[in-house]
C-alpha cells in the first residue's frame, strides 16, 4: 500500500481528474492537493493524488538522471538541500 505512481492530469471536473499514466487513463480524486491543473504531474495513491510533482522532478522519477555526487559538500547533506543537480 506504499505504492504511489506518477501521472499527468489531463482534465479536471470538481474533485475528479482524468490522468494519464503513460498510456493508461484513469480517474482520480484530487481533493487532497492544492489547485491542481491540467498538465500537472501528480503522485497517485489508492485513487487519490497525494502530491504535485514539478515536471522536472516527475521526469526525474520516471527517468533516471546522472547525479554527480562529487559536487556535494558536507553542507549539502542538510535536510532540505539533498537534491539532484
Amino acid at each position: 500500500m506504499c505504492y504511489a505512481i506518477p501521472a499527468k492530469i489531463l482534465k479536471i471536473e470538481d474533485d475528479t481528474a482524468e490522468v494519464d499514466y503513460g498510456g493508461v487513463f484513469k480517474k482520480v480524486n484530487v481533493s487532497l492537493i492544492d489547485e491542481p491543473r491540467a498538465g500537472d504531474y501528480v503522485l497517485i495513491h489508492a485513487g487519490f493524488a497525494i502530491e504535485k510533482l514539478d515536471r522536472k522532478s516527475a521526469q526525474e522519477s520516471l527517468e533516471i538522471i546522472r547525479n554527480d555526487l562529487s559536487q556535494f559538500s558536507e553542507e549539502d547533506f542538510e535536510l532540505e538541500n539533498y537534491r539532484d543537480s
Binding site: C2, L43, H45, G47, I64, D84
Partner: protein
C-alpha cells in the same frame, strides 16, 4: 536523453553507490544494522537482491512497514466479527485473506456476500448509496488515512486501525532485543507527514524512493551519517517529499481523527500511535460496541509475525514458514499481505 542513456546512468549511479558503500562500511568497521519500515521498500530490496550485494558488516532488516501485518489479531478478529454479523463492509484487497482466529473476511464473503473489496475509497461512496450502513475498515499508515478521512467527511462509518509511523520508530530505537543504527524512512508516508517530523527521533535516517538506485543512495547516505555519528534526517526522495508534507491531507486527518494508543502486532500497545475516529456516530467501534466487546482475546499461535515485524527474526526462522504457512495457506498477516515480509520472502525464493 534517451532510454539507453538513462539505463546506463542508473547503472553507473548504482556502481558509484556500491563503491562508496563498500568504502564506508570498511571505515565503519563494526557490524551495522539498518532497518526499513515500508512495504514498498521491502519489495524493491527483495526483488533486486539488495541485501546480498551489501558489504558483510551491513545488515539490512525489515521492520513493521506493512499496515495489515501490524494490525493486532484482536482488531482483525473484531473486524471479521462485524462482517460475520452480515453488516456490509468495505476493505482494501489485502485484508480479505488475513486469518482471523476463526475465519477470514474472504470466508465470510463466501457465505454472506457482504464484504466489498475496493481499490480506492471513492468506490465506497457508491456502495453507501446501496448499503446505507456500510462500514469501512481503515487500515494503513499516514499515506492511507487521508483516504479514510475522506469517507468520514462524507458521513460513512469507519472501523479505524490506522497507525502512525514515527511512534513505531521511537519504540524500535528503544527496544532491547534489536539494535538499529539507522532507518530508511518510508517514501509516501513522508509525502503526507513531511520530513521535519523525523528530526525529533535521534538516529540517522534517510527517506528513500522506490527503485534500487534510490535505496542504495539512501543506504550510502546513512552510512555517511553513521560514520560521522550524526543524528540527521536526509531527504533522498525530494521530488515526492518536502519538509512540511501535505498540509491539506494533514488538516483532513486532524478534522476527523484524534491520536490514541494503539496495539501493534509485535510491538504491543504504543502510546499515541494510532488514529481514532472523532465522531462517535461514525465510529464503528462505538456503533457496534456490543459486537466488538464480545470478541475474545485471541489465543497464542505458532505464528511469529510479531517477531518478524520487529526485525528480531527473518521469516525463515519462523517454524511455520514454508512448512505450514504459505501464500495458499497463510497462518498470519505477514504471509497474506503483499507488503508482508513473509509473503515477499516467499515470492523471491528465500
Amino acid at each position: 536523453m534517451n532510454k539507453q542513456d538513462d539505463i546506463m546512468d542508473e547503472k553507473m549511479l548504482i556502481a558509484e553507490h556500491l563503491k562508496d558503500i563498500g568504502d564506508l562500511a570498511e571505515k565503519i568497521g563494526r557490524n551495522i544494522t539498518i532497518m526499513e519500515i515500508c512495504g514498498g521498500h521491502t519489495r524493491v530490496i527483495m526483488e533486486y537482491g539488495i541485501r546480498e550485494i551489501l558489504p558483510k558488516n551491513i545488515r539490512l532488516i525489515s521492520g513493521p512497514g506493512c499496515p495489515v501485518c501490524v494490525s493486532s489479531q484482536h482488531d482483525i478478529d473484531c473486524m471479521i466479527e462485524l462482517a460475520s454479523k452480515g453488516i456490509p463492509v468495505a476493505t482494501y484487497g489485502d485484508m480479505m485473506r488475513v486469518p482471523g482466529s476463526r475465519y477470514s473476511l474472504s470466508d465470510i464473503n463466501s457465505r454472506f456476500g457482504n464484504v466489498h473489496e475496493i481499490y480506492s475509497t471513492t468506490e465506497v461512496l457508491k456502495l453507501k448509496r446501496q448499503f446505507d450502513n456500510i462500514v469501512f475498515f481503515g487500515v494503513g499508515f499516514e499515506t492511507t488515512a487521508p483516504m479514510t478521512a475522506f469517507l468520514l467527511e462524507n458521513g460513512i462509518a469507519v472501523y479505524s486501525v490506522h497507525k502512525l509511523v514515527p511512534p513505531a520508530l521511537i519504540a524500535l530505537t528503544a527496544a532491547d532485543d534489536v539494535h538499529i543504527d539507522g532507518f530508511i524512512d518510508p517514501g509516501h508516508v513522508s509525502t503526507i507527514i513531511g520530513s521535519k517530523v523525523y528530526k525529533e527521533i535521534r538516529i540517522p535516517q534517510a527517506i528513500a524512493g522506490f527503485n534500487p538506485e534510490r535505496i542504495l543512495r539512501a543506504i550510502r547516505v546513512l552510512l555517511e551519517l553513521i560514520l560521522e555519528n550524526k543524528d540527521k534526517v536526509i531527504n533522498a526522495y525530494p521530488e515526492a517529499v518536502n519538509e512540511e508534507g501535505n498540509r491539506t491531507a494533514q488538516k483532513l486527518l486532524d478534522k476527523h481523527f484524534h491520536v490514541a494508543d494503539s496495539e501493534w502486532r509485535g510491538l504491543g500497545i504504543l502510546p499515541m500511535s494510532g488514529l481514532e475516529v472523532n465522531d462517535d456516530r461514525l465510529n464503528a467501534k462505538i456503533l457496534y460496541k456490543d459486537i466488538v466487546d464480545s470478541v475474545p482475546i485471541p489465543k497464542k499461535s505458532g505464528c511469529r509475525c510479531g517477531d518478524v515485524l520487529k526485525g528480531t527474526i527473518e521469516p525463515i526462522e519462523c517454524p511455520l514458514y514454508r512448512k505450514v504457512c504459505t501464500p495458499e495457506n497463510p497462518q498470519g498477516a505477514c504471509m497474506v499481505s503483499e507488503e508482508g515480509s513473509c509473503a515477499i520472502s516467499y515470492h523471491y525464493g528465500k
